[in-house]
């Protein structure tokens, strides 16, 4: 997993609440057995006027020009600003894979759905929860200001606006450490292999039917 320490990047605003993972990456693209290549189909039904299928050359497909990610001013965006309950619905990790593959490393919203939120951290994406008033203010600034960029400083746990205002955010210490260092969970967990084995043996004695 790629480290996340500081990110200074262009912001794209997606002004919708309850964006679900079916919208982020529609089901037909879940047939892939790879982790990569989902970026061209991120928000497929909102980005294109036709119905997408796996394996198409997206350059040939008709686009919906008014969709935010199709607008020239947001090309190269690395930070997605959106509304509450982003990532609700299915547990598909293809959603964060698609966001990452498209180029997003950080997401800002008032809230995120639990499973999606968790999946982001496994892929080096930082989902930042900010109060509604601060999200509102960011939406105003980003739509009014072409080329609007934010600085995200994970070490200091804050977002820095171009006008210098600091927006602190909260993150679990463990998740922060993993992102800052680019650690994968499995290696960390396996340091506790003896504890797991002991736990398992005790459980097997107490509830043998669980190990049938």
């Amino acid at each position: 997993m790629e480290k996340f320490v500081r990110l200074e990047g262009l912001v794209a605003p997606l002004d919708r609440a309850n964006v679900d993972t079916d919208a982020i990456i529609p089901k037909q693209f879940l047939k892939s057995i790879k982790r990569s290549g989902f970026g061209p189909n991120l928000f497929d039904e909102w980005r294109y006027r036709d119905v997408g299928e796996p394996g198409q050359d997206v350059a040939q497909r008709p686009r919906k020009d008014d969709f935010v990610l199709n607008q020239p001013r947001y090309q190269g965006a690395q930070i997605l600003l959106t509304r509450k309950n982003f990532g609700c619905g299915s547990s598909r990790e293809h959603a964060p894979w698609a966001l990452l593959d498209f180029g997003f490393r950080a997401l800002i919203a008032e809230s995120f759905a639990d499973i999606f939120f968790n999946n982001c951290f496994k892929n080096g994406i930082l989902p930042i929860v900010l109060p509604a008033a601060e999200v509102d203010a960011l939406f105003v600034q980003v739509t009014e200001t072409p080329g609007y960029r934010l600085l995200i400083d994970l070490e200091r746990q804050r977002v820095v606006r171009p006008d210098g205002k600091l927006l602190p955010f909260v993150i679990d210490a463990f998740r922060r450490e993993c992102l800052l260092n680019g650690w994968d969970d499995i290696g960390l967990t396996l340091r506790h292999a003896d504890l797991i084995r002991a736990f398992e043996e005790q459980r097997r004695r107490q509830q043998p039917w669980l190990f049938a």
């Binding site: 309850n18 982790r35 509450k84 299915s90 499973i115 463990f174 499995i186 396996l190 292999a193 797991i196």
Partner: protein
């Protein structure tokens, strides 16, 4: 100190805890399907790791499998590769049980787990699938995970977790005639919203929940995720124990006696404190129909499509307006006047034997309206299908004009060939009415099996209570 059911399950699976509260939780049962597992098996192999305990794995192919013409196999080569990849992965690593495509016990993973007795009270149950909350009906700590976590469970038999807050959702009273667990689930989501349960483990309780069968409890817990909660659960009682007795993977003999003694403790203690309590009187709930593109956009059958002009919150109002455009509906239209093109009875929410019996009861001796292009029943598993056929339910559906299909996820998410075309409107017993969920441009209305059956006969929504 009195403990909630969730706290008991958490303590019982806690292997280790970090200073910030991040906990290592032991996983008893790992359900696996073809869509969210290939990258996990590949990751495991690339890292040179072996699965920790293959006897925890129960696997089946469900999302991509066709529901008709099984003799032709899986015609879509991309779907076929995904299913064959699962075959190969399970062949290589092993499993407690594998129900591949065409196996008589194959079916939707959340139907197959409980019916085989592979889901047992007090377990942690995970799957790369958000509807894993279904298994909470058995007082399990059960929730969906992403593919990275599928790999983590394969490699370590554990997950890194933060403890959820607890919500008691108490439904006292009696559900009216024709009002089902599905209506209860939809009414709850309408009440708390799709983010109302975010960060919570919900325990469903109260006399109306106690009176539900296991099938009903599974329907209720299945949709906890639609209310934002990864986990929904119901305490163990005699209904739970009766359901499990004699199931293939349930304990037998002396172990059964030990198990049920332990299972009977899987309830919240009297006086246990929850972080949040919601009370919903059962008697006020009528049959529900979703009108929009989020499960919280739901009203009772005797209501009208809501008017965004009356919504004060601008973000919510915009969402409603967008939903009405997508759904091709006008505000203030009576729900009963909405005409349907397709009917889908199936999915991990409503494809169990009780659901099929209830729908067949409405359909018996009647005909699907001529305006309906397709009405289909997709049993949740091969065993559900066989039981329904033994009871003659297939004949009732076929005689009415329904198609009787092979088991699978089917048109709940339309990864196989079963789907809505753009603009088509469907009464569906599934769980999600998101844009494009059942096919690009398709319009989904979530309802109970009885309400879907009634809509099939009438050609539009109608109050099933008037038919009973």
């Amino acid at each position: 100190m009195p403990q909630t059911l969730y706290e008991k399950l958490w303590q019982d699976h806690l292997v280790h805890q970090e200073a910030d509260g991040t906990a290592l939780i032991y996983i008893d049962r790992h359900l696996v399907h073809e869509v969210t597992s290939p990258q996990a098996f590949e990751g495991l192999k690339l890292a040179g790791r072996k699965p920790w305990r293959v006897s925890s794995i129960v696997a089946t192919a469900d999302h991509n499998t066709p529901t008709d013409h099984w003799d032709r196999g899986i015609e879509d080569p991309v779907s076929r590769l995904q299913v064959e990849t699962l075959d190969a992965n399970i062949r290589e690593v092993g499993a407690l049980a594998y129900f591949p495509f065409k196996d008589p016990r194959q079916g939707i993973v959340h139907v197959v787990g409980p019916e085989s007795g592979a889901t047992l009270p007090g377990m942690t149950v995970v799957c790369g699938d958000s509807h894993t909350s279904t298994h909470g009906a058995f007082a399990c700590m059960a929730h969906g995970i992403g593919t990275s976590e599928v790999e983590h469970v394969l490699a370590t038999q554990c997950l890194l977790q933060k403890k959820s807050r607890t919500m008691l959702l108490r439904v006292d009273g009696v559900l009216g005639k024709g009002v089902t667990a599905k209506d209860l689930a939809l009414a709850i989501i309408g009440h708390i919203g799709t983010a109302g349960g975010t960060g919570y483990a919900i325990e469903f309780a109260g006399s109306a929940v106690r009176s539900l069968s296991m099938e009903g409890r599974m329907t209720l817990c299945n949709m906890a995720i639609e209310g934002g909660a990864r986990l929904g659960m119901v305490a163990v009682d005699e209904v739970t124990i009766d359901y499990l007795r004699g199931r293939p993977f349930a304990p037998k003999g002396e172990q059964w006696q030990q198990a049920i003694a332990l299972w009977r403790t899987l309830r919240s203690d009297d006086g246990a404190e929850f972080d949040h309590v919601v009370d919903l009187p059962a008697g006020e709930i009528g049959p529900q129909v979703s009108w929009g593109t989020s499960p919280e956009m739901v009203v009772a059958i005797d209501a009208c499509v809501p008017d965004p002009a009356r919504e004060g919150d601008p973000v919510k109002r915009e969402g409603m307006e967008r939903a009405l455009v997508y759904m091709g509906l006008s505000a203030n239209t009576p729900i009963r006047e909405i005409a349907l093109d397709k009917i889908f009875i199936g999915s991990c929410t409503n494809s169990r034997i009780e659901d099929l019996r209830a729908a067949a009861g409405v359909v018996r001796g009647k005909k699907v309206a001529s305006s309906i292009r397709l009405a289909m029943v997709v049993p949740g598993s091969g065993l559900v299908k066989r039981q329904a056929e033994d009871e003659g339910l297939d004949e009732i559906f076929r005689a009415a004009g329904f198609e009787w299909r092979e088991p699978g996820c089917s048109m709940c998410l339309a990864m196989n060939a079963d789907r809505l075309e753009a603009g088509e409107r469907c009464a569906s017993t599934s769980n999600r009415n998101f844009e494009g969920r059942q096919g690009a441009g398709g319009r989904t209305h979530l309802v109970s099996p009885e309400m879907a059956a009634a809509a099939a006969i009438a050609g539009h929504f109608c109050d099933v209570r008037e038919l009973l």
